[in-house]
Structure formats: C-alpha cells, structure tokens
Chain length 407, copies 2
C-alpha cells in the first residue's frame, strides 16, 4: 500500500462503514455477520470491530444463531436494539393528529391517533394538541431516555431546512414557522425535522411498504388534497427547498375549477375527495365516511357513484401519464383515497395510461395500492428522524464506549 | 489508527480520489494544487502522488504558476491534457447531423454539422451519413490515437443500457437498435453511449452553459418536438430505463390535437414549432427559417405572429408551472426554439407561472435562455462519453505507468 493512496481520512471511512451497517440492519432487519459482509462489501474483521463499537453503545446486540446443519461455526445474528435509540413521530393530517414512538429498526413502540373535525384550526391549537398527545409517549421508557430525534409530517408545503410552512391550504395556514413553534412547545430535547406528508409517506412505503427495495417510485396520495412523494434512483426528490413533489397542483385542466392553492385547474380539483363526492351527489366536505358510502353505492351499481369514480379514474390516468413520461418509474404507489378507490378504477386508469403514456415507459411501470394505510406518513416521519443516526452513527457513540470497544 | 477502521479497500479510496481530481479539472478547468486540496478535501501529499500518476499516463500536465506577489512557493498549475483522451460525439437532430472530437477538459478539437431536409430517413441512410461525417475526424490525430469513447445524441426515446430506440417520432423510427447499429458501422474501437438529445443538452448546459454549478435544473428544449433534460440534486434524472424527461408528451390539453407519439393533447402539440408556425399562418413544417420569419413579423407588430407567440408562451407557462411544482428547481433553461422566442414571451410566461405555480416554488426559480445554442446536445454527448473516465480514471492508467509514478 503506497502512503499516498490514503487521501481520505480513515475516520471518514470508519464513519461511512458504521453507517452502511446500521442502515442495512435498520431497513432489512436482523442479519448474520456473514450477510453483513456480503451486503456491505466490508471485511469480516472490519465488521467485527464496528459491531463491537455499536454493541458498546447499546445500539446493537448479537446472539448466537442456531446452526443450520451447515459445517463451520454459525455466524452470530446481529440485530438493532429498538430501545437503544427512539424517535418521536408526529403527524398533522387533515382530519386527525397522531403521535408515535418508533425504535431503531422500525419497531413501533407506542402509537396514538385522534380524529378531529376538518377545518381551519389555529397553529396554537394544533401545536397544543400535539404536545398533549405526545406527552404520555415521551414520559414512558424507553422513549424518555433514548429519544434521539423528532419527525413531523404535515399536510402542507414545507421548507426542509427549518420546517417553515409557507402554505397549507387544507389547514388554512400561511407562513407558519412550524418547526420553531413545535421545538419551543415540546421543549424539544432532540432535533426536529418537518416534511410534507406525502414525501414521508413515500419514504415509508419504500422502506417498509409496497415499494420496498424499489429505486424509482411515484407515491401519489389523495385525500382532500393530493400529494406526491417521488423517489428517484433511491433518493427522495425534495427540490431546492423541499417544496418538490406537489403533484396535486400540476395544472391539468385549462377550463378547470379554482383550487384552494389560489390557482385553477390543478390536478386535485379533478381527482381529490371533493371532486369525487360532489360528482357522486354527496357533500364534498364529507370526509372518508362519505367516500365509503360512495364506494358502497358503486358496488350496488349506482350510476352517479360509478360516473364519479369514472371521472376521477380518468383524470387520475391523465395526470399519471404525464408523470410516468417524465419520471420513467418502476412503480406507482397509490395511497389514501386513491388506494381505496383503486379496485374501482383499475380499468379506467389502465386505459388512460395506455392511451396517453409513452409505450416504452408504460410497459415498465406497475400501479399498485399502498400497503401501510393511514399510518404511512407517521412512519415516514419516524424514518426522517432516524436519518441523522443512519447517516452517521458515530456521533451517537460516546468516546468512552468507543475506547472500551477497541481496547 | 485502529486496524479495523480500514474496512474499505485502499484501492477503492485511491480510485475515488483520482476521480475527484479529474472531475474537478474537467469541469472547472486548470487549477493549482492548492485549489485541488481545497476543493477535494485531500491532503497535499495525496494530491501530489495522484497527480504524479495522472502525469505519467499523459492525462495531466503541470506547469509552474507565475508567483502572485504572495509569500511562499507558488502552487503548480494542474491542467488536463486535452489530447490525452478524446471522445467522438455524434448527433442525430431533426434537420441536421453533426460530429465532433472533444478533448479531455471539454476542448472542441473538431466539429462538423450538415443540414439535411426534414423527414423520415431510414436507419441505414442516417448511420451511413454519420459514419461518413465522422471518418475524417477519426482519422486526424490526436483523435486517431486517443479515442476513449463515443457519445451519441438522438431526437428519440432511448434505452440507456444499450442505445435501443423504441420510438423517435420525428425520424419515423420504432424499435431501432441504434447503439448496436452504430457500433457495427463505425467498427467502434471504444464504448458507445446513446442518449436522448434533451437529456445530454441539459448535461452540457449544467457543465458548461447557462446552468453551470446549479444542482436542480429543468432544461426544456423545443423544435419540432419538445424534450426535457432534468437535473435533480446534481444528477441527471433518467428513470429506470433512460426514458425519463419526456416532458413534450405530458398530456396538457384534454381537448388537444393528435400528437406524433400516438397520444393526444401532449404539451408539444401546443408549444412545438408546428403549433407556432400554424397559428402564425406559416407552413407548420417550415423549420427554423420560418420561425425567424415569424419573429421578424412579431417585431413589426403583426397580430398573427404576436397571437401565435402569445399562445405558445401561455401553454409554455402552463406546462412549466406543473414542472416547477413537481421539481422545485432553481433554474429553468430554455433551449432551441424556446430560447429563441424567450424575449417575445417573457411576460406571458412569467404571468402564467405567477398564476399557476405555487408561490413558494415560484419565488425560488429563474427562467433563462440556454447559452450553448444548437451544439448543446452534441457537447452533452461528449460529456456522456467522458463519464466512464471521470468516474474511474484508474482504468486508463496502465500498470507500467502507475509503477513508474510511484517508484
């Protein structure tokens, strides 16, 4: 080895290797040392040393694997200690608030969701409600002692750097410093990351749901508003400030209706919950109970309900065709309202994609419903809060532990 | 340094460091050793050793910089040897064919472009014409001896892995194995990469044009068809097969005209050259000479010409607003036709963006004309062909040179 070959600092390499190991265990679950060697490309002795550091810091435990009848010593099974590092996840949805504690590796330790009537609530009210919801979760061990981060999903446009919300039409908010407000109200003992709920919903579906292991994914989620979370080559597309993925506000209809964002003819005016309910003859602000009623009527053959679903399915295909042509994705995951209506609109949607998307890209993409249901954004907010630890676990290893491990 | 800290192989690190140096020099031009230390984060002694290897392989030369009146020894200036590695770039545009030799660092050593009438030509004809065009360029030194790759830009949808073209409506092509055909016809002594011309146009504008140094860029280029090259977080968005960026085929008008792709109401049916010419009362297949005539008429106040530009500007804004909402880019670069008409449609375009894009994203984005002109795709094809060398220059260092350098 020539001395000049080591230009990168060995400390940088060590940190990158720790990150690779923790990320593998966090997304794939317990793995044997041999599997870690195979998936990270590190040497067996490097893995042994790094695991030792993580064990000393209580982030990882090892157990002897049962021999599988194969010759040689069984490789010890390495698993993350879900109580070694815990995040608090919060969600501000259109008609509910939620809080959860999630342990390293993705184990949900605590989860509570409360419905609330739709409408415009002041930031003060919502922040106070979230603090109250989170209090018992934060007070219980292990969360009390092991909290390393707070992730927040909100139905609005979010500046990633500081959690500023320039606009959340479904809450009636403009220019709300949500990150700052929550940090103060929670007297936050850990960093807070705030993101748009479809963005983190996509992250959750990629890590633990319908898109597990897929690198090019469009997650399109409908409720009152329509949100998108876009995964490009394995990474979330955020744009320069974090405002990316606002697919609900793609103009699709030059003669369309006014949108709550201030524009007209946005995609969500044609495919959002309000459009479906209105066309089916239900009150447009009726929420998911009314949506379920429409689906029951459609099953019973109601022309109004079927016509409304046809309208939404057609426009869903119209917008998706454009996104498929732009992104050439492997998978489109339909969340929220779109996941629920998917069985009713499959044919319409496929017809529209066939008619409007480029055949080359159309052939490569599948459209599937989401699998994590209503909790996808909450679980995604937890993933967001784990990100600093996954990116650089070394900062969670105290010097004394490191020394003990390497002695 | 603990032994287990070195998990990554030192050879991997050396190759990554060589790549960082060559990439910096290729995109930024000659740099002093001190500047390389600052921009790569490598140590001075690592830089010295790696530069030695590159000098021995004839890829780099060093010259003593003139002292700047500052104390201390001047840092030697490191520059790429443009004749040390050369790529052949080819372009199949709608109304021209082009070939160029480009040296490492981006120096254009040779360039020839021939106009051809528009229309459907057989693959045989176009391949034969390109081979003929490239022959004298390939025969001249340094290209003859230093050719390391061939990049091809084509007006069509391209599978990146092998240069297969499932569809190129403006050439009348379907399912053409262009990469394979060119490799055979050129008796190619170096790997061939084929890409869509807007995709590589974007790459060129980011490396050497209007978007230099910007990480989130939409390059939208219009001629007969409309193409897009999207740069997300510094990387080209290709999608799973390379078909991404087909913005010209985003459905925008539910009541629109048939498109040559087989769909209807695609963006290019409203903003492409044909739409402009038709509305201005010119033959829609008239090409850039007719476009120039429309612009002259608009300058003279012709209502038909001004109306046609207004129409195109309005639809350009309609489509761009959606893309801005989805990508939250820093910069939109308008190429080809859109660059030429930009001065005439600036106000309409800005008005439409103001009306239809989310204010948060709108505020962060600038719309500017491209600066590389008609050669952007050709220069981008050259960049594509350089990519393997930039990613891993070590494979171009013969073992003997390496030994000599480290002796």
């Amino acid at each position: 080895m020539r001395p000049h070959a080591i230009g990168q600092r060995s400390e940088t390499v060590r940190r990158a290797n720790l990150s690779a190991i923790v990320r593998e265990l966090h997304t794939r679950g317990p793995l044997s040392r041999s599997e870690l060697v195979a998936s990270t490309g590190l040497t067996r002795s490097a893995i042994r040393g790094l695991i030792g550091e993580l064990v000393a810091a209580d982030l990882v435990s090892e157990e002897r694997a049962a021999p599988l009848g194969t010759p040689g010593r069984p490789s010890p099974l390495v698993r993350l200690n879900s109580e070694g590092a815990v995040v608090l996840a919060l969600e501000i949805a259109v008609d509910s608030l939620a809080a959860a504690a999630v342990g390293l590796g993705g184990e949900v330790l605590d989860l509570v969701r409360v419905d609330r009537p739709r409408g415009h609530f002041s930031v003060d009210e919502i922040v106070a409600d979230l603090v109250e919801l989170a209090a018992p979760i934060r007070a219980r061990p292990p969360t009390r002692g092991a909290l390393i981060g707070i992730g927040v999903a909100v139905v609005g446009v979010v500046r990633r750097s500081d959690g500023f919300v320039p606009m959340a039409p479904n809450l009636g908010w403009r220019d709300v410093p949500l990150g700052e407000r929550l940090a103060r109200a929670l007297d936050a003992p850990a960093p807070i990351s705030v993101a748009n709920e479809a963005d983190v919903g996509a992250l959750a579906e990629v890590r633990r749901g319908a898109a597990m292991g897929v690198d090019d994914v469009l997650f399109i989620s409908g409720e009152v508003g329509v949100g998108g979370g876009l995964i490009v080559d394995g990474k979330p597309l955020t744009g320069v400030a974090g405002y990316g993925g606002e697919v609900g506000h793609i103009p699709v209809n030059p003669n369309g209706a006014p949108c709550r964002c201030g524009s007209t003819g946005c995609w969500e005016t044609e495919v959002g919950e309000g459009a479906l309910l209105l066309r089916a003859g239900h009150p447009p602000g009726g929420g998911s109970a009314e949506v379920e009623a429409v689906l029951r009527e459609a099953e019973a053959g109601s022309p109004a309900a079927l016509g409304a679903l046809e309208h939404v399915g057609r426009w869903l295909g119209f917008g998706l065709a454009g996104l498929v042509n732009v992104f050439n994705p492997r998978l489109v995951v339909l969340g929220g309202l779109f996941g629920r209506i998917h069985p009713f609109v499959t044919k319409t949607l496929e017809d529209e994609l066939g008619r409007l998307a480029l055949p080359a890209s159309r052939k490569l993409v599948r459209v599937v419903p989401a699998t994590l249901g209503v909790d996808a954004p909450l679980l995604g907010a937890a993933e967001l809060a784990f990100e600093p630890l996954l990116a650089d676990p070394a900062i969670w290893l105290r010097p004394r532990d490191v020394l003990a491990a390497s002695a």
